[in-house]
Symmetry: C2
C-alpha cells in the first residue's frame, strides 16, 4: 500500500489534541475521516508530535497508507475538501517510501511559544498567545535559558503522565526574543518530554518577572523534580512549527 | 466633560461592523456599554473609520466624553474589563482636548488587505485573510495599482450606498507586495469612499490573475462607473491599521 507524508496546519483551540479520544474531537480523527472518505476504508494517521489540547501546528507531519495511488497535490486537495469544516488544512502531501514513519523517522522538532506582553488583552490573537501584561525581561529569560541547552535529565520539566522511558533529552535550542509586543520562545530538540516546552516556558516566565534569579533555571533542572519547576504555561501559545527528517 | 481618545483593536468577524445596528452587535455598542458601566450614564463613542461587518482593526481610533476624570491607563484597563467577553480591546487611552474629533480631525487612514495565496485554505488564519489559491502576480498588481495613486474620481470603486458628498479622493499609497505565502495590499489616504479599498483589491485580483491587462485598472478608473470595476473583495482580509492626526 502506498504511503503518503502530509504537512499539516491546525488551530488547536477546538480539539482535544492530536490524538483520537473519547471526550472530544482530535485532529487525527478529522484527517482519518477525510482519508476514509477518499479511500473507502479505515485509515490510520500517525503524527510526528502528539500535540495537547489547544496546541497549534504550523508544520505538523503525519503519514498514512492508502489503497490508491494518487498524486501529492491531488491528495492534498481531496483531504482539504473533506476537512474544510474544521480548522485543519493539509499544506502539502507526497508519496514516501514504506520505511518512512512520521514519528520514528523524525530527527528534530521545533516549537514556537508566543507570549503577548502588553497591557491590553489580545483581540485578534485571542486563543493564539499567552497574554502576560506587566514587566517581563526577555533578555534575562534568554540568558537563563542557556542552562537548559544540552543533554540533561529534564524530570523537572516533565509531566506526571509522560510516557517516555527516560527523562534524558538533548535540548538543541532555547531562544527567547522580543518581537514587537510579543516574546517568542523557540525550542528545538530531537524529541521532547510531555509538557516539556510548556513547563520550560512557565519557569522562564518566573525569571522574566524577576521572581527567580537568572540561575534559577539551572537550579530547577538540577533538582530533577517537577515540584522544583514553575507552573505549566497554557497550551494556546504553543505551535509545532517544524519536524525534521534525515 | 473630559474627552478621551482610544486606540482600539478588534476582530470584526462577529460584528455587524463598527456602527450600532438593529440586526446585530456593533463594536461601537460594546465600547459604549463598557463606558456606560464606568460612567453610570449613556456614552457615545465616535470612530475614525466606520468599518464594515467582518472588517478588523489593529489601530482604530475613537473618542468619547465621560463625566469623570480618569488617568489614561486606568480608563484603558477599566474598559477592557468590561469588553473582555468580546474580541475588542483598548490598546491605549488618553485625555484629549475638547476640539479633538476621532473622525473629523483625522488627516490620514491606513488599511492593510491580506490575501493568502497558497493551495491550502487557512486553518489558523481562517476569517483573517482572503484565500486565493492559484497563480497571482503580485508584481503586476503593484504596477497596475500605480494608476490609482493621486487625486481622482473614484466612482468605479464606490459602493452604491456610499454617503460621501463627492467621489473625488486623493489616494496617497497603494502598494502590493508578497510576504511569504501572503500578498499584502497597503492603502493610505486622507479618507476613503465606502468599500473603496475592497473594490480596489477586487480589481487588483483580476490583474493578478491575468484577466485584466496591467492598464485595466486605469481604464476602470477612467470609466467612473462601478460596473467597470471588479467584484468587491470580502471583508475578512481587511484591517484598519492606523489613523493619523495632525
Amino acid at each position: 500500500m502506498p504511503r503518503y507524508r502530509l504537512l499539516i496546519e491546525y488551530d488547536g483551540a477546538g480539539f482535544v489534541g492530536w490524538q483520537r479520544q473519547d471526550n472530544g474531537l482530535g485532529v487525527q480523527q478529522v484527517l482519518e475521516e477525510a482519508a476514509r472518505r477518499l479511500d473507502g476504508r479505515p485509515v490510520t494517521a500517525i503524527a510526528a508530535g502528539r500535540t495537547d489540547a489547544g496546541v497549534h501546528a504550523l508544520g505538523q507531519v503525519a503519514h498514512l497508507d492508502l489503497d490508491r495511488v494518487i498524486a501529492g497535490d491531488k491528495l492534498r486537495d481531496a483531504l482539504n475538501f473533506h476537512t474544510r469544516e474544521h480548522p485543519v488544512t493539509v499544506l502539502a502531501a507526497a508519496p514516501v517510501d514504506d520505511e518512512f514513519h512520521a514519528r520514528f523517522s523524525a530527527v528534530g522538532r521545533a516549537y514556537l511559544y508566543r507570549i503577548l506582553n502588553r497591557p491590553a488583552a489580545p483581540a485578534l490573537d485571542a486563543g493564539r498567545v499567552w497574554w502576560l501584561p506587566g514587566d517581563l525581561d526577555a533578555e534575562a529569560m534568554h540568558r537563563a535559558a542557556r542552562a537548559l541547552i544540552g543533554h540533561h535529565d529534564f524530570s523537572t520539566f516533565r509531566a506526571a503522565q509522560c510516557q517516555a522511558r527516560s527523562p534524558l533529552k538533548t535540548l538543541d535550542r532555547l531562544d527567547v526574543r522580543r518581537v514587537g509586543q510579543e516574546i517568542h520562545v523557540i525550542a528545538e530538540a530531537r524529541s521532547f518530554l510531555h509538557h516539556q516546552v510548556r513547563n520550560m516556558v512557565g519557569s522562564l516566565r518566573l525569571v522574566g518577572r524577576g521572581k527567580w534569579a537568572e540561575d534559577g533555571l539551572a537550579a530547577a533542572l538540577e533538582a530533577r523534580d517537577r515540584t522544583a519547576g514553575g507552573p505549566t504555561a497554557p497550551p494556546q501559545g504553543l505551535y509545532l512549527t517544524r519536524v525534521d527528517y534525515p
